[in-house]
């Protein structure tokens, strides 16, 4: 590929841009092993090898927990910070292929909130894929408002999968039909679909799973986990590279388990306390001048072959 040199310059430019906050934590995954490396090491590793596989270099974005409609003291203008996040996306020198929104699009599932969120996301000018958070299931129909907008090609309560340049993306819903005393929940029907979706797929296919609530137990006392996630994860263990992206807890937390790496993202609306650091997981009020440093978006860069999917978390300011 003779465009390698300029590709590299573009990517370097993008990575530097993504470091606007100076707090971008970088996590990479490749060859089934996830690890945290420095930005410089990531740049040095960006050597696309067309012979390595069907995966074509591309990047995508994760945004989460925009809570459009939230106006409490923790952030009186959640709509405004969401707009700022989308404005950051527009500034990227390399256009991402698409956006993954990992739920809690709205605060109270109102039609006006969904419409508002849609208008803001569409400003980015790239496709967006959604999964619902529990805040998107609060209408009388228990998720009908979400599905009427985002569910035209989805199954069940909103799950689906798609392929992009050699990577298989799976959208899971773990906020529907929650059980008393439990945490997030996938349910039998979705698990059966997932098994079928993965069956027959090559173990070398990179998998990206996205859902709202963490698919590993971050903190059971606050319900930060998914009751039946082990059944889903057991279906994925044979794959060399599985990246699980979620929101819900409004902070960056990672975990690596064999070939599966888990990454929760920041919110664009308000932060929440670290597990157990407060009496409840409710919105964390920080000083107004600090707020932008605890909100953010995440860029993922996919490079071919054994090279990693690099995740860069960037704060809003």
């Amino acid at each position: 590929m003779d465009t390698k040199a300029s590709d590299r310059i573009d990517r370097r430019g993008m990575l530097q841009c993504m470091g606007w906050a100076g707090t971008g934590a970088l996590y990479v995954m490749g060859g089934g092993i996830a690890s945290s490396i420095s930005l410089d090491a990531a740049l040095a590793a960006q050597r696309p090898d067309p012979a390595a596989g069907r995966v074509t270099p591309f990047s995508f974005l994760q945004i989460s927990d925009s809570h459009v409609g939230f106006d409490k003291p923790a952030n009186p203008n959640a709509r405004g910070t969401f707009q700022e996040a989308v404005a950051k996306i527009k500034l990227l020198p390399q256009k991402p292929a698409f956006i993954l929104h990992t739920g809690d699009i709205t605060h109270l599932s109102k039609d006006a909130e969904f419409a508002d969120a849609d208008a803001i996301v569409s400003e980015a000018g790239i496709p967006a894929f959604h999964v619902p958070g529990e805040h998107d299931m609060l209408d009388e129909g228990g998720g009908k408002a979400f599905l009427s907008r985002y569910g035209k090609t989805t199954l069940g309560t909103g799950w689906y999968s798609f392929d992009h340049d050699g990577v298989h993306f799976i959208a899971l819903v773990n906020v529907a039909n929650l059980q008393p005393g439990g945490m997030g929940h996938l349910g039998e029907e979705q698990l059966i679909w997932l098994a079928r979706d993965l069956a027959g797929r090559s173990a070398s296919t990179p998998i990206v799973v996205f859902a709202h609530i963490p698919l590993w137990t971050v903190y059971a006392d606050w319900g930060w986990g998914t009751d039946d996630s082990l059944q889903a994860l057991s279906l994925m263990r044979r794959f060399g590279s599985v990246t699980v992206l979620n929101g819900h807890i409004h902070q960056i937390i990672q975990k690596v388990e064999g070939n599966i790496s888990f990454h929760s993202a920041r919110s664009t609306a308000y932060p929440q306390p670290a597990p157990g650091a407060a009496r409840s997981p409710g919105p964390l009020k920080v000083a107004a001048e600090t707020l932008h440093s605890v909100l953010g978006i995440r860029t993922a860069t996919v490079v071919p072959g054994a090279e990693p999917i690099a995740l860069i978390d960037a704060a809003l300011g």
Partner: protein, 124 residues
């Protein structure tokens, strides 16, 4: 920051204080002069810090229980066995249900299902 154990104790004391005061409040109308046995009783449950306070309440048949959400997050009140179900309660919103039948009603928040409570309805 105080150690975890200490904070939990404080949370428990708060819960007990609220429980005692609400029991006093709910039993008072029954003793009021001029009220017959049919007088409605009321019981208040606060939703605070992602918990129902008090989490377990015993009332007599005919009691109206009112839940009020004091959190910045929305919550809901949903019976495990579907006897009652609120819509999402935003900050300051309330939901009431009158328990006419004796029984043990487990309930939870459908947004945050680790939040659970019980209303025990017993004849005197």
């Amino acid at each position: 920051m105080p150690p975890l154990k200490h904070r939990h104790q404080r949370a428990t004391w708060l819960a007990i204080t609220i429980a005692v005061s609400s029991v006093v409040a709910s039993s008072h109308p029954a003793h009021a002069a001029g009220r017959g046995p049919a007088a409605a009783e009321a019981q208040v449950v606060q939703i605070r810090n992602f918990a129902f306070v008090p989490a377990i309440v015993t009332v007599r048949p005919g009691t109206t229980v009112t839940w009020t959400n004091a959190d910045e997050d929305p919550h809901s009140v949903v019976a495990n066995a579907k006897a009652f179900r609120s819509s999402a309660l935003d900050t300051g919103d309330s939901y009431s249900f009158t328990f006419t039948k004796v029984g043990d009603y487990g309930y939870f928040c459908s947004l945050h299902p680790h939040m659970t409570g019980r209303i025990i309805v017993k004849a005197r």
